[in-house]
Symmetry: C2
Subunit: 400 residues, 2 copies
């Protein structure tokens, strides 16, 4: 027997299976599942997409069922450019935009295009572990910058930059309803961040996964709209359309986008054409505009239910962020190891993601992330109650 | 202005855009296009897939439109395992099989999991440039082994191994109707290759992209069926189902497959669930069994048309391989630089892929690849005639 584990690449050794456990629960039915950034399937546009798919298959097979160009189907890219003109107030040029197979694919293409081993990547502390694992596969040195109520601490970033011998290659940020913390970057910080990174030649990777799911509809300028010369914005349609066709985008400086397209070719050639054309028809018919208010309403209601349940069950046990959009609340449970808590909670048929994996430098075992996006209001209430019982039990065991 | 090109990764510098030009022609309508391994869209099962897609969207949205687990939907994997039991005579265990987003994605996942910079990857000379570019993105040292009429020359491989200080990490081969040469490995060679690689601990990557598209239906044992302990077989559904949903598989030693699943998570999380479920329904209903004879007939007819046209127009100008399956014939045009020929042919509205990009070590400018899979018989005839005119014109220019 050949020992294949001994033949793996160095990057594969000890690469933890961080999100496998989350995705493995994607279809679980027997537990209250606060893990994963899953959209609620009741929001999927099944009423219109069945007909859209059937028509494309029957009348556009030579495009919709064939290979796509690596940058995406031209008509689909035009629809995305129109979308960005609306959300960002700036329509990207044809050489500034490329289609990806979702957000993590965009991270991978950027990392493949930009990172040599040991290059520094700055991430928010905490940050989205799925994205971080995408960067880590290309052997960077990760450095963390703290968040506060106004988002990424730009002064702390400036202080970090003064300690580094050369500028980081990339800075990764989720400015809106951040994963996992739920926090949003202030407008002042956005301008200051773009200015600082422009001065140092640092490519900002702006992840807008949840930006369209704000509960208040207040306009927030995207980093890309402020600095199209220094920002690659990556977006996913998994949260506002559906994850089952793997679609997203990257928009940024033409020289970077050109390289992402080559990286896409040598990674998996292209995003699926059927999904691209389905999305395009969905956008052109105005369905996304009709969908977003419904989605915001549902997630706002669930966030309120979660916050309310936390106030009743976790008073004195934990602190948490109050979501203003997106899918997550971020809890700190002082004195509790949340990895151990996750195991205990699974006994009570409750799942969540422990916080440790979200930290790049400063490991912290007292945090956890709750996603309320795919759980009914009654299950949110019940799940939080069970979780509080598990926390109290752990504390009592520790005290005894 | 920041010079982003100066900030790219080393692997990105000078990485040629090898297949972008091919994919960019995917939708071209105004030329006779012998480039690309495109299936013929007339074979796409539009008569059944429209209904399959609509039903899945309307009745299975929580699975078909949601995230999938990284290894693929369990019921889809079961259908793939059944398929492999039929084609390969061996049903993989649950830990031996994972779903990918097509063949190049599988290459990338293997390279990411196995390759450190400088590791040796052995490829056939010539080999499929799309796969080779997937390996090259992870900085290996490529070594070529020649092909003859019985496929990869195993004695030449053994001789190469004796010159290397340590065994290669990977050997990549397309045993059936090889891309680009059209050649097929003999049964004796298959056994010898598995034995040699097992002895040296070399992981064989067996690409079966065209294996179901043989014109004679003669059984050929797959390398994986001969050596499931030492072979990762990768397959794609782009050639026999459709490319528009990006689906393939990898089947091999459990330790390798486990790592590919982690690599999938940190690359793009999962293959699209809608495509997985569409494929599963298509397979379960027996549509693939009905499709394959029709596909073989069409491609056999086109291959015969191509061979016939070559005999009439290229006698004395070139030599070529006679396809026994798959999509390609491989021409040698002595004294002609086929990169320059490609530019001349485009003037006559004919496209093909020059051979130089298919060679890992021994650059050769006199070869070219013709794909007949997506061209009508009359256009094949016309395209070969135009190409012969272009070759004669180049030769005359050179002689004068």
């Amino acid at each position: 027997m050949i020992d294949w584990n001994a033949r793996l690449s160095r990057r594969a050794h000890g690469q933890p299976d961080l999100i496998g456990g989350i995705l493995a629960l994607a279809g679980a039915r027997d537990l209250i599942n606060f893990s994963g950034g899953f959209p609620d399937p009741s929001l999927f546009a099944t009423d219109v997409l069945g007909d859209i798919a059937r028509k494309l298959i029957e009348s556009d097979a030579a495009v919709a069922l064939q290979y796509s160009s690596s940058e995406g189907i031209a008509s689909t890219r035009a629809a995305l450019a129109d979308l960005l003109a609306g959300t960002d107030g700036r329509r990207p040029g044809d050489d500034e935009l490329t289609v990806t197979s979702g957000g993590i694919d965009a991270i991978t293409l950027i990392a493949k295009s930009m990172l040599d081993p040991g290059d520094v990547v700055v991430v928010e502390e905490p940050s989205y572990l799925g994205a971080v694992s995408g960067f880590v596969a290309f052997d960077p040195e990760l450095r963390g910058v703290p968040l506060d109520d106004d988002g990424l601490d730009v002064d702390a970033l400036a202080a970090l930059l003064r300690t580094l011998p050369s500028p980081p290659k990339l800075l990764y940020t989720i400015p809106d309803f951040q994963n996992p913390s739920g926090r949003t970057m202030s407008a002042e910080r956005r301008g200051a961040l773009v200015e600082l990174c422009r001065r140092h030649g640092i490519l900002i990777v702006e992840d807008v996964a949840y930006s369209q799911l704000g509960f208040d509809d207040a306009p927030r300028p995207t980093l890309w709209s402020l600095g199209p010369d220094v920002v690659v914005q990556i977006g996913t349609f998994s949260k506002v359309f559906l994850p089952g066709v793997r679609l997203g985008w990257a928009v940024g400086p033409a020289a970077v986008i050109a390289q992402l397209r080559i990286a896409k070719q040598n990674s998996d050639q292209c995003a699926g054409a059927l999904g691209q054309r389905m999305l395009e028809e969905y956008l052109r018919a105005g369905h996304l505009d009709a969908h977003l208010p419904r989605a915001r309403d549902l997630y706002r209601r669930r966030a309120a239910t979660l916050t309310d349940a936390l106030e009743r069950h976790f008073d004195g046990l934990a602190t948490w962020t109050v979501p203003r959009g997106g899918f997550f609340s971020w809890l700190r449970v002082p004195g509790v190891d949340t990895v151990a808590l996750a195991a205990a909670a699974r006994e009570s048929k409750v799942a969540f993601v422990p916080g440790a994996g979200f930290f790049a430098e400063r490991r912290d075992d007292e945090h956890l992330r709750l996603s309320y996006s795919r759980i009914s209001e009654s299950d949110i209430e019940e799940g939080v109650a069970r979780l509080a019982v598990a926390v109290r039990a752990m504390r009592e065991r520790r005290a005894s």
